[in-house]
């Protein structure tokens, strides 16, 4: 049985609403009584964010597990927030469709939790983020109002896109009851290739070449050796290679379009001096599943950073994160979602205290600032979580964000203290 413990805190009770109305009623009562709550989906990303300032109730969404409406011919699906991503994808796949979104642990992670925590995956290269696939939501606000925004159709400009605010808000504006997505036809073919480079300057060029016309990879990542070694499927494929950085590209579409792109991608990488490792077709999905999982919090006591920067600066960002880590004697495992300008860097900080880690974070933030980027901590070792500056500087719109939160969560009961707002 789950105890819903979080950063050493345990709730007094657990509520499991079975409908949107029950969810709203729970929030209304919590609002009246001033009970602080933590919305809880699959729990795969609860490590992200600070320790709650107060934690009275765990609000589990696991009984909100219905697919509310699915019209395959309209390419639109509505699901309750407690549906796991795997369940949703399986339902769509039966009709030859998918949601092109591949965050970690789809078998446990719920769509509500993934949306609320702004989860991402390698497919954002070709399909942007889930924000652009979300057509509408029903959300229970912090005072128990059950409200909707958006629609069930592909295009809508009636009313503001209030639902976008809940994506990546860590449940601080409301608890998602259900979400409506546009979905896409499942591509006929997926094929991937791995280009292995021993010269650390080349992967950056390879990434540029792999996204230049006419290539349109749906996923394009670069991993350093320690990151690749954490993926068993990849470790096997790369057995015996010297120290390396691998660039992995995935193409999707019709057979002809995919074949031509893979062929062209191979040619471009080889001309840069890469060794190409073919990914057996049967392993393609598994490999990407494993790659996504390396970007997720693990609870293994490591420090997981997420850095964002203009994609042209990604090589420099990877280099500076590596330098800062190595200066402290930590070996970073790094993976970059290249065209999106995101890097996940995992530092094994061991017994280092909060001063050393904060200092390293500060150095990284200053250097990243010069490159036009930022870094946040997605997961911290339990002993450090209360002592680190996880989110970095406040965003410019913070006053408006606070004013908004005061209106939608007037009693401040939703995940208090965990997010920047």
């Amino acid at each position: 049985m789950h105890d819903y413990a979080l950063h050493g805190l345990r709730p007094h009770s657990v509520v499991e609403p079975a409908s949107a109305a029950e969810l709203a009623e729970t929030l209304r009562q919590a609002h009246e009584r001033g009970l602080a709550l933590v919305p809880w989906g699959g729990g795969t990303r609860q490590h992200v964010g600070r320790r709650p300032a107060r934690y009275d109730l765990a609000l589990a969404t696991r009984r909100l597990n219905r697919i509310v409406a699915y019209h395959p011919e309209d390419l639109v699906v509505t699901a309750e927030s407690g549906v796991t991503l795997e369940t949703l994808q399986a339902c769509l796949a039966r009709h030859g469709q998918w949601l092109p979104w591949d965050p970690a642990h789809p078998e446990r992670a719920t769509i509500g939790g993934l949306l609320a925590s702004g989860a991402t995956g390698a497919l954002r290269c070709g399909h942007t983020t889930l924000r652009d696939w979300t057509l509408g939501m029903r959300v229970a606000l912090g005072d128990g109002r059950l409200v909707k925004s958006g629609s069930q159709v592909a295009k809508n400009v009636a009313g503001c896109d209030a639902h976008k605010l809940h994506i990546g808000a860590f449940g601080t504006l409301g608890v998602i009851a259900e979400a409506t997505f546009k979905v896409a036809p499942l591509p006929e073919h997926f094929r991937s290739l791995i280009a292995v480079f021993t010269d650390p300057r080349l992967p950056v060029r390879a990434v540029d070449h792999l996204r230049a016309a006419p290539l349109q990879p749906v996923a394009l990542v670069a991993l350093n050796r320690p990151a690749a070694d954490r993926i068993p499927a990849l470790r096997t494929l790369l057995e015996g290679q010297p120290d390396h950085i691998s660039v992995i590209a995935r193409f999707a579409g019709t057979d002809l379009a995919v074949s031509r792109q893979v062929h062209e991608a191979e040619r471009r990488c080889v001309s840069l001096g890469a060794r190409i490792v073919a990914v057996p077709l049967k392993d393609d999905a598994l490999l990407w599943h494993a790659i996504s999982n390396t970007m997720a919090p693990t609870g293994d006591g490591s420090l997981l950073l997420r850095a964002g920067a203009p994609s042209s600066a990604l090589g420099a960002v990877a280099g500076l994160l590596e330098r800062v880590a190595r200066r402290n004697g930590w070996v970073p495992a790094q993976i970059g979602i290249a065209p999106a300008g995101l890097i996940f860097s995992r530092w094994f900080t061991g017994l280092a205290g909060p001063e050393a880690v904060n200092q390293a974070l500060l150095e990284a933030r200053i250097e990243l600032g010069v490159l036009g980027g930022y870094v946040v901590v997605e997961e911290a070792p339990p002993s450090l979580v209360g002592a680190l500056d996880l989110w970095g500087p406040l965003p410019e719109g913070i006053d408006v964000m606070r004013a908004l939160r005061a209106r939608w969560d007037p009693a401040g009961i939703l995940n208090p203290g965990r997010f920047v707002v």
Partner: protein
């Protein structure tokens, strides 16, 4: 308000050439593309920078004059109409492209940049700005952002909000903030997502990082002709349901064909009751196969001809006809009322039947030129506004289309916005709680209702209470249970 003093102070901020106060010149600004409601502004100001906009906003607050942002004024819902007077802030002089950062797939623009000119500028780099509303030769990217504009190619590339990475905006308190700098997943709430489509009610965008979309390697365009609109609509529904993803699927019906046929020398046969414009794009390999699959669906649904537009010149001609079809309506009637609603794609054939019924019921011809692939209807009600009865019937027919669309699970606007045109229909879609939550969002940006007041939110019956709610930010449900 002391108007002449305000004008003097505005001149001090933006310079004498940046202020329009002459009564005749002001008449140009009394409406946008939606001419059903008009209002005269006290003054129009044309700032050139965020700092100037900020100073203007502070002055407006001091004088108690509302701010009405305006791009090119091509909007169709009255979003830029100064219904209650005030200061119209035109972005016409903020028209510079500040940085093309092709390597990072983004461009930094001022809001007054013309949509089409931006795409022309990006062409040599191999990119485009994907949203392409039919007014793209005149409309500005600032207006596109305010209205979350669409266009034919939304079908594949998504609406404006998918192409705005972050903006610099002036808030109603005069402060200037960036909601993002184009980097992925910035910390905090997605303010970029709510400013897009907010119709000038929560802030004025003074610069924007926009996403670049790669120009496709290859493009194929065909026109499939049908004896009637039913076959064309059914084809669209089936193409979508079969999992094909064209770049655009646009329908023109018999009346629309009649309007554009001569003007654009399309040479379409008289017996064509509907034309379906199909565009596919992407990697060259496999494109012909995709197009063949799609045209096969058309043949199965009774197409009488499928005409490819082979050369770029031919393709441009077909697209020019499509995009200028609204203008060509002048050949058919003195006035038209363009309605914008959306239905699920499977409901298209039935909904188009209902539009035909509405045309008969209100005894007004209705032409249809629309983004069929998205289920986005554009019935064009043809009438003579000098005839009061026709005026009234046109409005009622439009309301009829909205009701049918909602009944079918759709919405009252797909891309034109709410503005003043549809504000009283918002209650058909949203509950009072929904609207109060949106009002709370609005109030957290604009507590004194300075920006574009009297728009978007319903003003009709029962909405005095809503206005009170917006002020108080209280949950409506609490009032109801009292």
């Amino acid at each position: 308000m002391n108007r002449s003093q305000l004008i003097e102070e505005l001149r001090h901020v933006v310079g004498p050439t940046g202020v329009v106060a002459d009564p005749v010149a002001l008449m140009t600004y009394d409406a946008d593309g939606c001419v059903m409601d008009t209002g005269e502004p006290q003054v129009v100001v044309l700032p050139t920078s965020a700092e100037q906009v900020s100073a203007v906003v502070r002055l407006a607050a001091r004088y108690g004059a509302p701010i009405v942002p305006r791009g090119a004024g091509t909007g169709l819902a009255g979003g830029a109409t100064p219904i209650g007077g005030g200061i119209v802030v035109s972005t016409a002089r903020m028209d510079r492209v500040l940085e093309i950062d092709a390597r990072n797939g983004r461009v930094l623009c001022q809001p007054g940049v013309i949509n089409w000119e931006l795409s022309q500028l990006l062409k040599p780099y191999g990119y485009q700005f994907a949203p392409d509303p039919s007014s793209q030769k005149a409309c500005t990217v600032g207006g596109n952002i305010a209205n979350n504009a669409g266009g034919p190619h939304c079908l594949k590339y998504g609406i404006t909000s998918s192409h705005v990475l972050g903006v610099q905006m002036v808030l109603p308190d005069g402060s200037i903030i960036w909601t993002g700098d184009g980097n992925p997943a910035p910390v905090g709430y997605d303010l970029t997502g709510v400013i897009t489509g907010s119709e000038g009610t929560i802030g004025l965008v003074t610069a924007a990082w926009l996403r670049l979309t790669r120009l496709p390697e290859a493009v194929r365009v065909v026109l499939a002709l049908f004896p009637d609109i039913a076959g064309a609509s059914a084809s669209v529904s089936q193409v979508i349901a079969s999992g094909f993803l064209p770049a655009a699927l646009e329908i023109m019906d018999r009346l629309a064909i009649k309007a554009v046929n001569d003007m654009y020398k399309l040479g379409l046969p008289e017996q064509a009751g509907a034309a379906l414009l199909i565009e596919v794009d992407g990697v060259d390999d496999g494109l012909d196969e995709l197009l063949a699959d799609i045209t096969a669906v058309c043949w199965r649904n009774g197409a009488i001809d499928v005409r490819p537009a082979r050369t770029p010149a031919e393709q441009n001609q077909v697209w020019a006809a499509r995009k200028n079809a609204f203008g060509a309506m002048g050949r058919l009637a003195p006035t038209y009322y363009l309605v914008d609603t959306v239905v699920p794609r499977t409901r298209l054939p039935y909904t188009m039947e209902q539009v035909g019924r509405i045309s008969q019921e209100y005894r007004l011809p209705i032409a249809n030129v629309f983004h069929a692939g998205d289920g986005n209807l554009h019935p064009i009600i043809l009438f003579d506004r000098r005839d009061r009865s026709q005026n009234q019937r046109a409005l009622e027919a439009a309301t009829g289309v909205m009701h049918v669309s909602i009944e079918q699970g759709g919405v009252i606007s797909g891309e034109h916005g709410i503005g003043v045109e549809k504000q009283d229909y918002m209650t058909l879609l949203f509950s009072t709680d929904d609207l109060a939550a949106m009002a709370g969002l609005h109030q957290s940006f604009d507590p004194y209702d300075l920006f574009n007041p009297g728009k978007v939110f319903p003003k009709g019956r029962g909405c005095g209470e809503l206005a009170a709610l917006r002020k108080a930010g209280v949950a409506w449900s609490e009032l109801k249970t009292r």
